[in-house]
């Protein structure tokens, strides 16, 4: 029954109730009543784009004449995984100095001048498991641009001065690794998951950077950056046949060396469950990561796992973590989860949020409840449907232009994923049912193995005191280990 007294209160905030939605017979009363034309989106198969050059290099190529632009990407098998332990940072420095250090015929200054006058963008970098070079320019400058690109990759100068300046900058930057809690959280969580010994957790240090010489860069380049290690994608305003000819020329007189390994070592480490707290002074918001190891890519449960994690924390505001931690409780602007399916070694399951120090423990409790709930309760069919649709319906967005199509296929060839993967992607997701999600949750989520990492004001986080969970402390969730910050120059404690 309505209490008549309420009506007097209503007057205060009249706008809410007074304005009435104007009915319109041409407009559906609710978006659920809208009818849409069908859209049968299919990504064209890789074979349509793929060509092999005479030297065996694989190329993914597509014309697009909408704008006078040209893009070229080259993935190559050079990686920081190949860094000698005493020279960590070598791959990354080599990647930077390819573009930065000039070419055989051009000093760095001359090269910069040519690149910037042409208004082209050339980038080179080498990451954990792959190297990438990119060229982007107006199609009128294709020939000159490709010419510079080839020189940069084939005949780098590795100029001494530029090399020294780049090293100086890195020596200064390593000292700043503890500046942001985001960095600290990322590296500590990775250490907790994969241990100190795995190469993905090797950091360049003051000592390792100082040990790297120009000769090391030259040797690294010689060993890894050659056509035998390359896959190419090209896109833009050109004729496909003519472009293939240009690419043949691009690789002419450039012998292939030894192919680099296509796999990388897996970590030999078992994470130790519990709570780990890292002190960063002067921070009023804790960063929390909660997780354990997950699986390799290509698991038979790949798609149920994508949907499971979608329900938990990766389908935007639809996901349970956002609904509870953010929308219901106002505890965090940013929360979510990822169930990483690693390409070369098992990925991580990680749920996260950032919240003011005194509500971190309370929000952690909510995350733990939601992880457990996926195992204990079957997800409602409607929820599954919405989550599946989240991924299926946004599939075309992955490919805003054909450039993304060819670079995706290049990437898949590099990492050894079946090129049919995307052709069946939507169907595979549509097959996932609530039973599958509960089954994989029980198989792959392990509440008893969770590692909880908290970075921030440790005392304040531990003290808790949120008005809805005043007695909640991190020790409730497991044994607490307090860790000091690492020395940023050595990454040791």
């Amino acid at each position: 029954m309505r209490n008549p007294l309420r009506f007097t209160l209503v007057v205060v905030a009249a706008v809410t109730t007074v304005a009435v939605v104007r009915a319109d017979k041409n407009i559906a009363p609710h978006p659920n009543d809208l009818k849409y034309p069908t859209l049968d989106y299919k990504i064209p198969p890789a074979a349509q784009f793929n060509e092999k050059l005479s030297n065996g290099v694989s190329v993914y190529i597509t014309e697009d004449r909408m704008l006078p632009v040209f893009d070229m990407r080259i993935m190559f098998r050079a990686a920081s995984a190949f860094d000698p332990p005493e020279k960590v940072g070598l791959a990354s420095l080599t990647g930077e100095e390819l573009r930065d250090g000039g070419t055989k015929d051009l000093t760095p200054e001359e090269l910069d001048e040519k690149v910037e006058f042409l208004a082209t963008r050339i980038t080179t970098n080498i990451g954990e498991t792959s190297g990438m070079a990119g060229l982007s320019l107006l199609s009128k400058d294709i020939d000159e641009g490709i010419g510079l690109f080839r020189e940069i990759l084939k005949n780098p100068r590795f100029d001494e001065t530029r090399f020294r300046l780049a090293k100086d900058r890195r020596l200064q930057d390593v000292k700043r690794r503890n500046d942001s809690t985001t960095n600290i959280e990322r590296s500590e969580f990775s250490f907790l998951m994969d241990g100190e010994d795995h190469f993905s957790n090797h950091y360049s240090t003051t000592v390792s950077l100082n040990a790297i010489t120009r000769d090391d860069l030259i040797a690294f380049h010689k060993k890894y950056i050659h056509p035998g290690n390359m896959i190419v994608a090209v896109y833009g305003d050109f004729n496909r046949k003519e472009m293939i000819k240009k690419l043949e020329k691009f690789f002419a007189d450039w012998p292939a060396g030894e192919p680099a390994p296509k796999t990388f070592p897996k970590p030999d480490f078992t994470p130790k469950p519990g709570v780990y707290m890292v002190e960063k002074e002067g921070i009023n918001q804790g960063r929390i990561s909660i997780g354990h190891k997950s699986v390799m890519r290509g698991s038979p449960d790949e798609f149920p796992l994508i949907v499971m994690n979608g329900v938990l924390g990766s389908s935007g505001f639809h996901s349970r973590l956002v609904a509870r931690v953010r929308s219901d409780e106002g505890l965090a602007y940013n929360t979510g989860s990822a169930f990483g399916q690693g390409e070369y070694w098992p990925g991580d399951f990680r749920a996260w949020f950032q919240s003011k120090s005194n509500s971190c423990a309370y929000a952690t409790k909510i995350v733990l409840e939601e992880v457990k709930r996926l195992r204990d309760e079957k997800v409602e069919a409607k929820d599954i449907e919405d989550t599946v649709n989240y991924f299926v319906e946004s599939f075309p967005q992955r490919f805003p232009s054909r450039l993304e199509v060819v670079t995706t296929y290049m990437d898949d060839e590099y990492s050894g994923r079946d090129s049919a993967y995307w052709l069946t992607y939507m169907d595979n997701l549509r097959k996932v049912k609530a039973d599958d999600v509960q089954r994989v949750a029980q198989k792959y989520l392990h509440p008893d193995q969770l590692v909880i990492l908290a970075v921030g004001d440790v005392d304040a986080m531990e003290k808790g005191g949120h008005d809805k969970g005043p007695d909640l402390h991190f020790s409730t969730f497991g044994p607490v280990t307090k860790l000091p910050l690492r020395n940023p120059e050595t990454m040791k404690r």
């Binding site: 939605v21 919240s355 054909r402």
Partner: protein, 605 residues
């Protein structure tokens, strides 16, 4: 030193709009959208592109933090959040039953505000230290808060959590987001499947007229967390904010978009309702779509869905405040966990000003690896690291030219500042070669095309440019820029880049990270002998001892430690460690005493 949008999205820092260029690199007719205006004032800007079956779409409102009323900074941004909470139709199972609960919440909040005012007074008198600490609340406030939480629970029975998001995302509108800036607020879907365009019209026309202040106070807390995340917990967030506040003497560009914390935490649902009525009217908005659309059909849909919304009750007021010409040099000297940095900033011009193209060219001469600053600061003098960042920003009401560099170890930020100032001076009357001028123009032309490649990028630029000035600027600015001469550059350098009235921010590295202490070989050796689990705790305790500002407390700790040493309660093998800590405590105590206990006032209790 960054100017922030909330949330930050990928709008380029220098908004160099775009024009189409033919293979011979001369500007052609450029971007030619279809433009229509409905009777109620809503402007449509539409570009058909049928390459992929997706559409980038937005509704942009001519409102931002510059329109925040006094005492209510952050309201434009908070309101943007609220428009994701649903409407009278979306997000609720039964609005008729829910509305009285929401109104009751609001009435209670008004009473809570009165009590909050009383607590603020208590804070000014020093009777309490934090009005947001539940333990310091008055009994009355605590009781009302409890009552409020009960009302929230009652409301939840009717709430369909995040229905707006779910409708979009289950229909392929992933990436749905919004951004509030100083001078626009944009709601966008980066890649809606092209068969779902009508959904956008349904939801966005509903958002424009039927918004409900549902779960307002929960969302206000989230916004507070957003501020903690972006501004307060980042190494330089608060200093960046302080620099903006210092740079803009009068213009509301100096107020943070996310709001000052004390004000955000006291905005009420009542406050935002007035804001909604004035600014969220069709005559203050633009709808932009780029992608796989049939523009005839889209115009039809716009008439059908938005045509039913009347014009707003008034013409939204413009910001009147003009930024006065700076009279004197202004400086901010801050310390943070960061590489040392220096930022030199001059007042520029608003978008569309006749001098904007020349200022853009001026910035182009300085930036990049072949720009004057990289050559001078990084390669010649080796006084800076990385490529200096130059930002020539012209927005709706005003603009600036900002030059920022990261200082190399062994150099003082002031030295780098001096070099920057010298290079700027050279632009006022030095030589500018044809080659460097042509290089900048080539870059302007190329970027005018690169920037319109993605549907999303083009959608955002058309939306923002038209809100600030006129969408034609996407074509006209590059055309005007290629006509800029060396004399133009020298003239604008003289007019705007006056070193005597520059604003400077200098960030120095905050002394004393954990690194400094670890370098002590004695400590490293001692720690190595301790159990691994204990090492962390020892370091933490040591760090506290060394930073203590409370001599009395420190004295007590010292006595306890000394007792541990003499009373034999500490195992023999751990004594050297404890002795080391005693030494550290004594050293800090001596330091405190030499400062005459001046730091003591800082610590409470």
């Amino acid at each position: 030193m960054k100017h922030r949008n909330y949330p930050l999205f990928a709008l380029s820092a220098v908004l160099w709009p775009a024009s189409l260029v033919h293979a011979d690199a001369t500007p052609s007719k450029g971007v030619q959208p279809r433009v229509e205006t409905l009777d109620n004032g809503l402007k449509l800007i539409l570009v058909e592109r049928h390459e992929q079956p997706i559409v980038s779409a937005c509704v942009i409102y001519d409102v931002g933090s510059v329109n925040d009323p006094r005492n209510e900074s952050g309201i434009a941004h908070l309101f943007e959040h609220m428009l994701f909470k649903g409407s009278k139709i979306i997000g609720t199972t039964d609005f008729a039953s829910e509305a009285p609960i929401i109104d009751e919440q609001e009435s209670l909040r008004l009473k809570m505000n009165t009590e909050m005012d009383r607590m603020r007074l208590m804070k000014r008198r020093g009777q309490i230290s934090d009005v947001l600490d539940p333990k310091q609340w008055t009994l009355e406030y605590t009781a009302m808060k409890k009552q409020f939480d009960e009302l929230m629970d009652k409301d939840r029975k009717f709430i369909k959590n995040n229905e707006l998001f779910n409708l979009y995302t289950s229909n392929g509108g992933a990436g749905l987001n919004a951004g509030t800036s100083q001078d626009f607020t944009i709601y966008f879907v980066p890649g809606l499947p092209s068969n779902k365009v009508e959904l956008f019209f349904w939801l966005e026309s509903d958002r424009m007229q039927n918004g409900v202040m549902r779960e307002f106070y929960v969302e206000r807390d989230n916004v507070r967390e957003e501020r903690r995340m972006r501004t307060e917990s980042t190494p330089t967030g608060k200093l960046d904010e302080a620099f903006e506040a210092m740079f803009w003497q009068a213009h509301p560009y100096g107020v943070p978009v996310v709001g000052w914390p004390s004000e955000v935490e006291s905005i009420t649902a009542q406050d935002v309702r007035d804001f909604y009525k004035i600014y969220y009217a069709p005559n203050n908005a633009r709808l932009v779509m780029v992608g796989d659309i049939d523009s005839n059909k889209v115009v039809e849909l716009a008439r059908q869905y938005f045509g039913r919304i009347p014009r707003g009750p008034m013409i939204p007021p413009m910001v009147i405040t003009e930024e006065p010409k700076p009279l004197a040099e202004r400086r901010l000297n801050g310390e943070a966990d960061t590489n040392p940095m220096v930022s030199v900033r001059y007042l520029g011009v608003a978008i569309g000003h006749a001098d904007e193209p020349a200022l853009d060219v001026l910035a182009g001469l300085l930036e990049g690896k072949t720009g004057r600053l990289y050559k001078r600061l990084v390669t010649n003098e080796e006084a800076a690291i990385g490529v200096p960042r130059i930002n020539s920003s012209s927005r709706k009401y005003a603009g600036y030219i900002d030059i920022e560099a990261t200082v190399k170890e062994g150099h003082q930020p002031e030295q780098v500042e001096q070099m920057i100032v010298e290079e700027v001076e050279k632009l006022r009357d030095g030589e500018i070669t044809d080659h460097e001028l042509q290089k900048v123009k080539n870059q302007v032309l190329a970027s005018s095309i690169q920037r319109i490649r993605s549907n999303r990028g083009l959608m955002q630029q058309l939306a923002v440019l038209d809100t600030w000035y006129d969408w034609h600027w996407i074509n006209d600015l590059p055309e005007k820029t290629v006509q800029v001469t060396a004399d133009d550059v020298r003239r604008v350098a003289k007019t705007y880049l006056d070193s005597k009235t520059r604003a400077v921010a200098i960030y120095r590295t905050k002394p004393g990270g954990p690194k400094d202490k670890d370098e002590d070989p004695e400590l490293v050796a001692l720690l190595a002998k301790m159990p691994t689990e204990a090492q962390g705790q020892i370091k933490t305790v040591l760090s506290r001892l060394r930073k203590s500002t409370d001599a009395t407390k420190l004295q007590t700790s010292l006595q306890e430690m000394e007792k541990g040493l003499t009373a034999g309660t500490v195992p023999e093998d751990q004594k050297p460690m404890l002795t080391f800590m005693v030494k550290a405590a004594k050293a800090r105590l001596a330091e405190l005493e030499s400062k005459g206990g001046s730091e003591k006032k800082e610590s409470k209790q």
